[in-house]
Amino acid sequence: MKFNYAAPVTLEELSELKKGGGKLFSGGTDLFVKMRAGVLKPDLVVDTKKVETPKLECDKGLRIYMNTTYTDILKSGCARKYSLLMKILLEVGSPQIRNRGTPVGNLGNASPAGDFLLSTYVYDSKVIVGPSMREVPVKNFVKGPGKVDLSDEEFIYAVILEPLEGYTTYYEKVGRRNSMVISIASIAVALKIESGVIEDARIAYGSVGPTVVRFTDLEEKLIGERPKKELFESLAMEYSDRVKPITDVRASAEYRKKLTGNLLIKAYLNMNL
């Protein structure tokens, strides 16, 4: 395998190189896996790590810039209040992968199994696209497995997560082992409950469709209701029916459908509402 390597130091250079067909990478924990497997064969890889960018900003939402690693976030004090995010990040790969891999890379990879990607759907995140610095809601940004809304010269500069204050959250990823695993299905839930009534509900699933899924019409069924088990059970059935997962080497579509509903019940049981 032979290919060229470039390490630009400015965003302009980075954009130029990408326009010329270069494949960006930060941690490389997705890109090089694909290249080794022969799925991608770029002539040029562009290392983004030499471009100086901020790491994290916590004042107006949580801004995670390119090249910021999972470990950077887990170690920073200011991101701690994003507790659902923290739970999710701790489940990504292993310490080595978290030291190397980046949330922006996870977004760029746009796998429906991406764990960080799942969190962005619950935090109603926006993607800042360079060089223009236009902002796009994540649900419009991700177009399908591995497909994102970027033109040739564009790149992801940062992602902004809106805070979830006063929410109860749940996250679970199902795989055949407890770490270093690509999810068979995953769920992230955030509920806001005021005086015993659900005010806001966000329910996102990974690995049960071409990208992360949220069904806002189903979420709305919870709003204004008391969090009762029967309510979640019937909603679980609707989610199970609605998702269209695939069968792959990890699991069958049938199992994933059943898991989809069951994970919502698990979320309900574990949130102790």
Binding site: K2, V174, R177, S179, V249, L263, K266
Partner: protein, 750 residues
């Protein structure tokens, strides 16, 4: 005893922890070439043409070998049913059946050139399952797909069923298991025109020695095989390194340059052996009070495209088919079946985990139907001195079977545990716990079917400064063999463990000692070393006596001669100066076993290890995921020589058995190409999956073992899968008769 049975640090711990130990890939030689292998990527077909001319022109490529270059292209351990390289006109029998090998200046150049080898294959329908193979259409290899059979015919099976009050018939299936050793297959070969030297990662240097000499038609005294530090084997480096070594050796032979061949994980998954998938049917008869009257079993092992070790693996499936029980009427058939998939072979347990799983599931079902506790039914049927194994081997010593059952019952506080599990299940709707027993047997060493290989050599040299060099034919592959050898020498000679160095095996120094398999190294290499060390000790004692010393004792690292302490270094210096023989060779073999292969009866093995495991599992009813939370284990291994090493074996065995039982699975596409060729989708347990393991040994000494010891390497795995399956069945009330127990299967069955 001074070191035997004491907690000591393994002698190779520091060098391994600091990365100083030398593995094959750490070695490099001037002018060394790198090799790559060309695979057809088709599971079944006829190779119609092969053209390497374009690949030969690629930059960096030095040589390409095809079938035309192999001096002796026929290979196979029991039958010569495979080629080193598939010839044109010959059959391709699995996707990674090698057709050419390339040597180039760099690994990248060699790998790149593989895609430039042109070939045509006339494809045939691939045979992918045991059931398809039984139809014999098409034939994969030889004359019939069911190519081998072994049997036991003992007692009167029909009478046994007539005398039974309960007759159970059950079907079982088990899947593949990949060894998942840390270090993939690696070999370096150096041919200088006269002599061939091989360095490699391997369990059995003498196999490599014989196979390479045979393929290149070289005399054995011109071939030297040196085992490098080996990053795990588990059976996967028993015969397989021979297939890797002949490739590197052939390229070195053709180029007269050193050649390195290091597999990547994908090649290792596709081409090298696995545990045999199996299907079996059991019919077992019991009396009302739980006594087994008859065991009838038919077991099919999927051996893949080539038979390799299967006929010998089948011997173990056969002899272990009735697990660890006293049964008089036995009728067992084991079949080896060809399919168009990767050849299966040796894997920790060697054909026994499949049948032990089946028989142990039957025991639990019987207990349930008879209203007995699963512990009780096992205890009732357990072996004792004077009773006979499945093959009718009457046991005369070293039978701690019942003791292991008693120990586990006690250390788990079984009655209290049952109550806790009952309470947990009452209080939890979506999580259920279960307890599962397994009681298993393991024949130590190769047994009657492998006795021609069952002898070992060992040399001990005491240097003038009192340090000791030990040379054995058995290999260290991470299991701790070197440490056990050092302990034995240290105990006998009164020398510090730190002053004993155990060398890497070298076939030009040590006589053929057989393979490092079958949990035999402690017994065989250990005894050889014991004999050699005792001889040196006696030589020294004789010398001291000749000097007039009357009372000689060896205590705490000091020799005490007539009440005066003398450090071993001083003794060595003095004895050396007096021309005392301080180098000895030990040779160990066991008396001929009497076994009748026609009826499958007689003395199957020299001795047996007995094991009991109780597993506590928790099943998530919403995801189907099974978690092994805790395991209590006891093995009768005769004598615990090295407690730290022995406990480590048990913990590792429980976890590897757990992987086999609940998470590891090889999948193929409909054309027979493997889909799970890396650790992202072949799921071995991680540190976050492992249970708490409680270990307590039973020690019922074996008179022919060093200090009474028997083997542990393999039995440590076998109790795990059936006890987990029994625990899941206990938790859910659904029958678990298939491994692996995937979350998917559990959830869809609920």
């Amino acid at each position: 005893m001074r070191v035997i049975g004491k907690r000591v640090r393994r002698i190779d711990a520091i060098e391994k922890a600091f990365g100083k130990a030398k593995f094959t890939n750490d070695l490099s030689f001037p002018r060394m070439l790198h090799a790559a292998v060309v695979y057809p990527g088709v599971a079944h077909g006829v190779l119609r043409s092969l053209d390497v001319s374009e690949a030969l022109k690629a930059p960096g490529v030095v040589a390409i070998a095809t079938y035309k270059n192999v001096p002796n292209n026929e290979m196979g351990i029991v039958t010569k049913d495979m080629h080193v390289l598939v010839p044109v006109g010959g059959k391709i029998r699995f996707e990674a059946d090698p057709i050419a090998i390339i040597a180039a200046e760099t690994r990248e150049a060699a790998e790149e050139a593989t895609s430039l080898v042109n070939f045509d294959v006339e494809e045939l329908q691939p045979v992918l399952t045991i059931d398809e193979a039984l139809r014999d259409d098409p034939i994969v290899n030889g004359e019939r797909n069911v190519a081998f059979q072994r049997k036991i015919r003992r007692g009167d099976i029909e009478k046994g069923f007539q005398e039974s009050d309960l007759i159970l018939e059950m079907d079982f299936e088990t899947g593949y298991q990949e060894h998942a050793y840390l270090e993939p297959q690696s070999i370096i070969a150096l041919w200088d025109g006269d002599n061939l030297t091989i360095y490699g990662s391997m369990q059995c240097p003498f196999y490599v020695h014989n196979d390479v000499a045979e393929v290149l038609k070289l005399p054995l005294n011109r071939v030297t095989v040196i085992q490098m530090e080996t990053g795990g084997g588990f059976g996967g480096k028993e015969d397989v390194p021979s297939y890797i070594a002949v490739k590197a050796a052939l390229l070195s032979y053709l180029t007269k340059r050193p050649v390195k061949l290091v597999y990547n994980r994908d090649m290792d998954f596709r081409e090298t052996s696995k545990r045999h998938p199996s299907k079996s049917h059991y019919k077992v008869g019991f009396t009302k009070d739980g006594k087994i009257k008859a065991v009838k079993a038919a077991v099919y092992l999927d051996m893949g495209a080539y038979s390799t070790l299967t006929p010998i693996v089948m011997y173990r499936s056969l002899t272990h088919a009735a697990s660890a029980y006293d049964v008089e009427n036995i009728f067992v058939d084991v079949y080896g079946v060809y399919t168009n998939k990767v050849p299966t072979g040796a894997f920790r347990g060697f054909g026994s985990p499949q049948v032990l799983f089946a028989m142990e599931r039957v025991m639990d079902e019987a207990a349930k139907r008879l209203g007995m506790d699963p512990w009780e039914i096992r205890y009732k049927n357990a072996l004792e001195i004077g009773k006979a194994t499945a093959t009718g081997h009457v046991l005369e010593e070293s039978v701690g079977a019942k003791e292991t059952l008693e120990i586990v019952r006690e250390i788990s506080d079984y009655e209290r545990l049952k109550e806790e599990v009952r309470k947990f299940n009452e209080g939890n709707k979506y999580k259920k716990r279960g307890l599962g027993w397994a009681h298993t047997i393991y024949g130590v060493s190769l047994g009657a079917a492998g006795q021609p290989l069952d002898a070992s050599s060992g040399e001990v040299h005491v240097k003038m400064d009192g340090t000791v060099l030990v040379m054995i034919g058995g290999t260290e592959m991470g299991q701790g063999a070197k440490t056990v050898m050092a302990l034995i020498v240290s105990e006998i000679l009164g020398v510090d463990v730190d002053n004993v160095r155990v060398m890497q095996p070298n076939t030009s120094i040590v006589q053929d000692s057989g393979p490092t398999v079958a949990s035999r190294t402690t017994v065989f290499s250990g005894n050889a070393i014991r004999i050699a060390a005792e001889r040196i000790r006696d030589n020294i004692i004789e010398y001291l006596k000749s000097k007039g010393v009357e009372d000689i004792k060896i205590e705490n690292g000091y020799w005490i001669a007539d009440g005066k302490e003398i450090p071993f270094s001083e003794i060595a210096r003095e004895a050396n100066a007096a021309n005392v023989k301080l180098a000895e060779m030990g040779w160990f073999s066991t008396p001929k076993l009497n076994f009748d292969f026609e009826t499958g009866t007689g003395e199957a093995y020299v001795s047996y290890t007995f094991s009991t495991q109780l597993s506590l599992v928790e099943v998530d009813l919403l995801t189907g995921k099974v978690e092994l939370k805790e395991a209590w284990v006891s093995h009768d291994i005769g004598k615990v020589l090295n407690p730290v090493g022995a406990e480590g074996q048990v913990e590792g065995g429980v976890v590897q058995g757990m992987g086999y039982a609940i998470s590891e699975e090889i999948k193929h596409d409909e054309n027979g190409r493997m889909l799970t060729t890396n650790f992202n989708n072949y799921i071995v347990p991680t540190i976050r999956d492992i249970p708490r393991v409680h270990v307590k040994f039973a020690e019922s000494p074996f008179s022919k073992g060093p200090f009474g010891a028997k083997g542990l390497g393999e039995p440590s795995l076998m109790s795990s899968p059936p006890s987990i399956a029994n625990a899941v069945t206990d938790a859910l009330g659904i029958l678990i008769n298939r491994l692996p127990i995937t979350p998917e299967e559990v959830l869809l069955k609920l």
